[in-house]
């Protein structure tokens, strides 16, 4: 082992130690509960933390109970590590394609997988400080570690100790759902729970599932140098997105060298000479591919086991999610739910927002509706695919007349200067009005750009007014204003133009 490797493993251990000390301190002693909590929160992921901080800031006596580590999927195994790694892979992609920016391609672009993973651990440790157990305790939250179980409508136990509450919030999140493929468990597989613990880059990787997580990780690992194949049992990948978004991405995937197998199902897995052999079927075509690692589990299974929900009258839907009403109330009037354990969308921002709504509705007697929230989302591929509000498909299904204003990114000066012209901004408006129903943006930084549209939707700003909002030039986000300009041009019908001409001529007659 070289001295550099030594140093890397030392710092890796230090980051891991800091991360553990923040999220699951070894010497943590649960508070000795005195009296009834006004709010008991089960699960310290993004939703649980947001609810606890919000409640504590209002002076509410709040308990936060976590089974594993503070931060949940987001910090420990989800968005934070995955986006950290994606940044590294973008750097490699830019190096390899430096010619696109008029730069010379570095002669020897070698991937340092260990360095990439070390950065993941460093960033995770850095961000774990913000929501550490100590910091939450200092903010007035009683943090408990242990398994929670409901025993009555106002009592739960943590590690066998009773804890009384007035209201409770379940925010236990969800875990990867692993498809039932014969031989998969025996052959071994990765999910986003253990993906970031890899110490070596798999030479060949199969990603089962072409949803957002599958696409993000397939691209990331391909750019790190793994020979990557995505298998998707549907005719398109990213089925929730616009077809054009998937078309643009499929071109990028092809350039990256990702093999996309649509309409293909993994039938069985077996291992021979250290290689995982996966049998695939697509319509009438069967074949077997050999890989070193299989990434799966893009679907989510809600974490409800051990809570004894039935004992307190809480039921779950067919997919295992806790059934809640629009006010996020479960079948038990005292107990609310928030985040992935009850929501269809598995987004951190949605989890946090739902937690605040649940706190307000449970303790402040507010009647805020979950459906009233405008929830953006983003798939962090390169380019990114961001979406907010209704899609055309949903609008059509609801019988809402919809028109889409589209500006391809090749129309945007800053996209051209950045050689990032692949993508578009599409804003959907209601029929012949300028009311924004939703939008899809495909661009390198679509996730940042979508926020302008979300703001307009929440504030009730239509496209007509939007065009009066100056955007810094040149920026890629200016594309959204250009959509508004396109809308305004449609208002200048021949009749309007004739009226303007007549008015001008009446005031300043031609000589």
């Amino acid at each position: 082992m070289s001295s550099r490797d030594d140093a890397a493993s030392v710092s890796a251990e230090a980051y891991a130690r800091e991360h553990r000390a923040n999220t699951r301190p070894a010497d943590w002693r649960n508070p000795s509960a005195g009296g009834r909590y006004q709010l008991a929160i089960v699960g310290a992921g993004p939703a649980g933390i947001a609810a606890a901080e919000f409640a504590a800031s209002l002076g509410i006596k709040v308990a936060l109970i976590e089974r594993k580590a503070i931060g949940g999927v987001n910090l420990n195994i989800g968005s934070v590590p995955s986006k950290t790694l994606i940044r590294t892979t973008r750097a490699y992609a830019d190096m390899r394609e430096a010619w696109r920016f008029g730069a010379s391609v570095p002669g020897d672009v070698r991937v340092d997988f260990a360095a990439a993973m070390e950065r993941v651990r460093r960033v995770r440790a850095r961000l774990s400080r913000d929501d550490s157990a100590q910091r939450l305790a200092a903010a007035g939250v009683d943090v408990y570690f242990g398994e929670a179980r409901f025993t009555a409508s106002d009592t739960l136990t943590v590690g066998g100790k009773a804890l009384a509450f007035r209201k409770a919030l379940i925010a236990t999140g969800a875990r990867p759902h692993v498809p039932d493929i014969p031989g998969l468990a025996e052959a071994g597989y990765l999910t986003d729970e253990n993906l970031f613990e890899l110490t070596e880059l798999p030479r060949r990787m199969l990603v089962i599932g072409g949803g957002p997580l599958g696409c993000e990780q397939a691209q990331a690992f391909c750019r790190l140098g793994a020979q990557t194949t995505i298998v998707q049992n549907k005719p398109l990948f990213l089925g929730q997105e616009e077809r054009d978004a998937a078309q643009i991405l499929s071109e990028t995937f092809a350039r990256d060298g990702i093999e996309v197998r649509l309409n293909t199902t993994a039938l069985a897995v077996r291992t021979a000479s250290g290689t995982k052999l996966v049998d695939l079927i697509s319509d009438d075509y069967r074949n077997t591919i050999g890989v070193d690692a299989i990434l799966t589990g893009a679907g989510r299974t809600p974490n409800v086991e051990g809570l004894d929900l039935a004992a307190v009258g809480i039921d779950c839907d067919a997919s295992g999610r806790i059934r809640v009403d629009d006010f996020l109330r479960t079948g038990n009037a005292n107990i609310f739910a928030a985040g992935d354990v009850c929501l269809e969308h598995s987004f951190v921002d949605a989890a946090r927002a739902s937690a605040r709504i649940a706190v307000e509705n449970s303790l402040l007697r507010r009647n805020r509706r979950w459906s009233g929230l405008v929830v953006p989302s983003c798939t962090y591929t390169d380019p990114e695919i961001a979406r907010v509000g209704l899609s055309v498909r949903e609008a059509n299904r609801l019988g809402v007349p919809v028109k889409t204003f589209t500006i391809p990114m090749h129309e945007i000066d800053r996209a051209v200067t950045d050689s990032e012209t692949s993508g578009f901004v599409k804003v959907h408006v209601r029929g012949r009005t300028d009311q924004i129903l939703g939008a899809t943006i495909v661009a390198r930084h679509a996730g940042d750009m979508i926020n302008g549209v979300t703001l307009a939707m929440v504030a009730g700003i239509g496209l007509r007014r939007f065009s009066r909002v100056l955007h810094a030039y040149p920026t890629q986000a200016d594309a959204i204003r250009q959509v508004a300009d396109a809308y305004n041009r449609t208002r200048f019908t021949p009749r309007v133009r004739a009226r303007v001409r007549r008015w001008i001529e009446s005031r300043w007659p031609a000589q």
Binding site: W99, K234, P235, N263, R489
Partner: protein, 434 residues
């Protein structure tokens, strides 16, 4: 149109027709997909050929009895064909496999039973039965065969209990899951499926399909979006969409013909912008559509490696686009924007004369991929779909003859009405003169 232009179009149309004469197997009336050696039959190309024979009779390029015999050969073949749905049969449930052996008519390439391509074939049959209206034994047989073959198609089965018609089926695995959605060339398919006296699909099936449409403002044109140009043309070869509107188009205050006109302008705007900086593209050199393109070479411009797609549906504005253009799709836009099309085609052929071989347009050409001697890459041979759509669209531009014949067809009228089309020629009792 000037006399000079008409002469030019006449020449192009006649050359397109020659394709069918050269590539048809006279014994069974089946027509090759393309002019290359050992090409299989494409059933859609047979549909174009069946539509072309009556026009050729009108223009004096074929004797009526020869045209009837050509048509009868194909129709008798389909009547007697193996409809068991087996791996080497010809069809199933009245539909046909996409590609057939030109001698035996058996399925080749493990191709799918194709709903859209069967619709194009049936469209051609209906043109023939509409035109050959004489009370002779042969023409009576022809009409009876067409009626039999149309009535045999089980459109309901092709719905497979789903909201819309499936696009394909294979004996090895059943219905295919292409997951196509959005506007496509399938209006003719839906019209035929709704007009069927034997196996009509439910009306909401068409409505369900239009629910996947996207009405977009792109480059300042309001358009029912579809990327490749052929989508805006194929159903229009048979159906005159001027002034008739379904519920979607009524709401948008447009029609499918006007929509195709706008699609032409969107294609031009894309080519003018030429975001991927390919050679040759401008507002008078455009045409991204399904066509043959280079595949085995690698395009290398300024150190940039680009992918090449071979035969593929190229599309605006999001691609695929590898610098390959389809001249046939430009010419086939003639009815929608005649002046623009003639100007563009003239310009393209002046710049790239090698695109025209034997007075027929090559399927695709790629000016970015010029050889050492500076000649642009041109697809070898000719494709039946290109020649077929060019032939019918030139005719519709010159005389509207195909549209006239189909306007008078009761199945087409019933199908369009079933899909909710109103107004225009659908309001008159016979749909115009025969």
């Amino acid at each position: 149109m000037t006399r000079q232009e008409d002469t030019w179009l006449d020449q192009l149309q006649r050359a397109a027709f020659e394709y069918f004469l050269r590539t048809t197997n006279p014994r069974n009336g089946l027509v090759a997909d393309n002019s290359r050696m050992d090409s299989p039959v494409s059933i859609a190309v047979v549909g174009f050929a069946l539509s072309a024979y009556p026009i050729a009779v009108e223009r004096g390029w074929m004797r009526r009895d020869a045209a009837v015999q050509c048509s009868l050969s194909a129709l008798r073949f389909f009547r007697d064909s193996d409809q068991s749905g087996g791996p080497v049969a010809t069809g199933f449930k009245g539909f046909y496999y996409h590609f057939l052996d030109i001698h035996s008519g058996a399925r080749v390439w493990q191709s799918e039973l194709s709903m859209v391509d069967t619709a194009l074939l049936i469209g051609g049959m209906l043109v023939a039965s509409q035109y050959f209206d004489a009370e002779t034994a042969d023409e009576r047989e022809l009409r009876a065969l067409v009626d039999f073959l149309y009535r045999r198609v089980d459109w309901c089965w092709a719905q497979d209990g789903a909201d819309t018609i499936r696009q394909g089926w294979k004996p090895e695995c059943g219905f295919l899951h292409y997951g196509w959605e959005g506007y496509s060339e399938a209006i003719l398919l839906y019209a035929l499926a709704l007009g069927s006296p034997t196996y009509p699909i439910a009306r909401d099936c068409y409505k369900n399909w239009t629910l996947t449409y996207q009405w977009e403002n792109l480059y300042d044109f309001d358009c029912l979006y579809a990327g490749p140009m052929f989508i805006h043309q194929f159903s229009h070869a048979w159906i005159d969409f001027r002034g008739i509107r379904d519920e979607f188009m009524r709401e948008k205050r447009s029609d499918y013909f006007e929509n195709s006109r706008r699609a032409v302008h969107i294609q031009r705007e894309y080519a003018r912008r030429n975001p991927r900086e390919f050679a040759g593209y401008d507002e008078n050199c455009w045409g991204l559509s399904a066509c043959d393109g280079p595949s085995d070479e690698h395009l290398d411009i300024a150190n940039e490696q680009r992918r090449l797609y071979g035969y593929a549906a190229r599309s605006v504005p999001y691609g695929p686009d590898d610098g390959t253009l389809s001249a046939p799709c430009v010419l086939a836009s003639l009815p929608f924007a005649p002046e623009v099309v003639l100007q563009s085609l003239r310009n393209m052929l002046e710049r790239y004369p090698e695109v025209l071989q034997d007075s027929r347009l090559a399927s695709g050409f790629n000016p970015t991929l010029a050889g050492a001697e500076g000649r642009t890459w041109v697809a070898a041979g000719h494709f039946g779909l290109d020649q077929g759509i060019v032939f019918l669209m030139i005719e519709n531009h010159r005389s509207e003859r195909v549209w006239q014949l189909m306007r008078a067809n009761p199945y087409i009228r019933a199908g369009l009405q079933g899909a909710g089309f109103r107004g225009g020629w659908l309001q008159s009792s016979a749909g115009g003169a025969r």
